[in-house]
């Protein structure tokens, strides 16, 4: 076949982009070193604490975005997994039932397990119904946390009594903006790379195929429920990581960490950043965080500013900032 040779050329770059683990590891190492250098160079504690919080939020948004990217559904309830991680640590520390390391592990396991169990029931549900379902589950949990005030302190929240050392490292390090910036940045870098690897893996491509056309995926021989459940589980796991970092950094939780408005913010960030890219939601989160912070600095009418930005960005760049940026980049690379 004569077309074959030409086609191989076409096909070649497509296959080359399948990530190699070495490149990924090198990228991760480079990102982490860069973060360390940055933290060393920047003196301002204020900037570092804002960045740290922005990055923890970015991890949250990355989890929400991954679900959109791989399953094509939008969750209005991921705060449930985030908040569950926070409260797991808070309650474990309050009752002194286990060492902090075990509590952190549990804080990662519980939301992930919940997502898995929930997923078996809810991933079949399409579109708006899924969004509303996650909203309902999240709010039910929020109401529960508010009601169970003997355990959770209700709306007053809970101070988390962290021990002096976590994983053998002084706890104060997790609460120092410079150190925590490096930690959370490294986690974000690893999460993004790991998710990119998952997305490029056979599993990632399968879930993308299921997202595109679940029925056809079944008729080429795949059970489609479990892969979708696993994507939801993975996204909840990422979100739980963010919850753990948040709790370590803040040493305080309140029911707000379960509220739908947090899920909504994470969603806004993911969409603004562009959920088709693995790093899009994190990018959107950092932009959104600082936009809100700056607007709040300038005026008490920050809400209107954020609202207008949101409307304008969505009207002009429905693919998200990250998507637009990636397009520009590709165009630039194409010309050069």
């Amino acid at each position: 076949m004569t077309a074959g040779d030409a086609a191989l050329e076409e096909a070649a770059p497509v296959r080359a982009r399948r990530a190699s683990p070495v490149v990924a590891a090198a990228l991760a190492a480079a990102a982490i070193v860069l973060g360390g250098v940055f933290a060393g160079a920047v003196q301002s504690t204020l900037l570092m604490t804002l960045l740290t919080q922005a990055i923890i939020t970015a991890i949250l948004a990355t989890g929400v975005g991954f679900l959109i990217r791989q399953n094509g559904v939008v969750s209005f309830g991921h705060a449930a997994f985030y908040g569950m991680a926070c409260y797991t640590i808070a309650l474990a520390m309050r009752h002194g039932v286990m060492p902090i390391e075990a509590a952190i592990l549990l804080a990662l396991v519980l939301p992930t397990a919940l997502a898995f169990a929930l997923g078996l029931v809810i991933v079949r549900i399409p579109g708006v119904a899924f969004s509303m379902l996650t909203l309902a589950v999240g709010q039910a949990l929020y109401e529960f946390a508010t009601k169970a005030r003997h355990a959770t302190g209700g709306d007053d929240g809970l101070t988390v009594n962290l021990p002096a050392r976590v994983f053998g490292v002084s706890t104060s390090l997790f609460q120092d903006p410079h150190a925590m910036f490096v930690v959370s940045w490294a986690v974000l870098a690893l999460v993004v790379l790991a998710l990119a690897a998952v997305a490029a893996s056979p599993f990632g491509r399968l879930t993308a195929a299921i997202r595109e056309n679940e029925e056809r995926a079944r008729f080429i021989g795949y059970a489609t429920v479990l892969p979708r459940v696993l994507v939801l589980t993975l996204s909840a796991f990422v979100v739980a990581i963010a919850g753990v970092l948040f709790t370590l950094y803040n040493a305080f939780v309140s029911p707000d960490v379960l509220h739908w408005s947090l899920s909504g913010s994470a969603l806004i960030m993911a969409i603004i950043g562009g959920p088709r890219l693995i790093w899009g939601p994190a990018f959107g989160a950092i932009i959104f965080f600082f936009a809100k912070d700056m607007a709040g600095d300038v005026t008490e009418h920050w809400q209107a500013i954020i609202g207008v930005i949101l409307i304008v960005v969505m009207l002009l760049l429905p693919v998200g900032l990250g998507g637009a940026l990636a397009r520009l980049w590709r165009r630039g690379a194409g010309h050069g």
Partner: protein, 282 residues
């Protein structure tokens, strides 16, 4: 007991008027309108301002009209240009609108709570089977019934209504029937927003006015819309009435679970029968 049932009807009726606007917009545009609570809130404020000058009935009329106009504007400037994008983009735009409208209300009407008095002619009580019941609450029930009746007649009789019903059931097929979707959707979104304005003014004599008041009703109306089977008008009516009763009796008899019941109901309905909603994508 009877009074409690009546109270459930009042609250259910109020929820219905708010929610049915959401149903209208969802049925046609497949959009979950997060700004709907804000439209309700702006309706209450507009009603408040007009009532201070022109009396209660004028306020109801003006608020509904102003919001209907705003709805038409919303459809033309936002929903229409975005109809080819992923619906989540539009949902986020309505979220942005929510933020802007709250801020707008805060700017215009201030941060303090405001209160609209009950119209004088309805401030008394009526005796029902020996129990006194506020006359104004009966008005709320009456308005809800009138809206439900008017809407169902309109949906059955008018051409646009026919289209809306068809579109709510199956948007794809209807789009292929060659109806002027844009013209229809202006009318429908305006009507939905107008009903939000109406419900805002109607509830103003019962509720404290604050820029964030929309958020206290938004999620509850979502519940109504979902339990009713997203896009279903009869379903929304039934769901609003059920939620109204569940709300009232729940608070009294199972206070510890009352706020969770509507959410659990929503989960149950979605898991049991997601098909009413299947095929729709956020």
């Amino acid at each position: 007991m009877l009074v409690q049932v009546l109270n459930g009807l009042v609250y259910g009726g109020l929820l219905y008027i708010v929610s049915v606007g959401l149903v209208l917009i969802f049925g046609l545009r497949r959009i979950v309108n997060f700004a709907h609570g804000s439209l309700f809130m702006i309706g209450a404020y507009v009603g408040f301002s007009v009532a201070a000058m022109g009396g209660f009935w004028g306020a109801v009329l003006v608020a509904a009209l102003v919001l209907a106009l705003a709805g038409a504007l919303l459809d033309v400037t936002v929903l229409r240009p975005l109809q080819r994008e992923d619906p989540i983009v539009t949902v986020l735009v309505t979220f942005g609108l929510l933020l802007v409208l709250e801020n707008f209300a805060q700017f215009v009407w201030g941060k303090d709570f405001l209160k609209m008095p009950v119209p004088a002619m309805l401030s008394g009580s009526v005796s029902i089977f020996g129990e006194s019941f506020p006359a104004y609450r009966l008005l709320v029930i009456a308005v809800a019934a009138a809206v439900a009746l008017g809407l169902s007649v309109w949906l059955r009789v008018s051409r646009i209504g026919l289209y809306v019903r068809a579109s709510s059931a199956d948007p794809l097929t209807t789009a292929m029937q060659g109806v002027n979707t844009d013209r229809v959707s202006v009318v429908v979104v305006a009507l939905g927003a107008g009903l939000a304005g109406l419900s805002g003014t109607i509830s103003a004599p019962l509720l404290a006015l604050s820029p964030s008041m929309g958020s206290y009703i938004l999620i509850e109306s979502f519940i109504v819309v979902v339990v009713g089977g997203l896009g279903s008008f009869v379903g929304a009516f039934v769901a609003a009435m059920v939620i109204g009763q569940v709300h009232n009796f729940g608070l009294v008899y199972v206070p510890w679970a009352a706020t969770m019941i509507p959410f659990l109901l929503m989960v149950a309905v979605l898991i049991w029968r997601p098909t009413g909603i299947a095929g729709s994508h956020v």
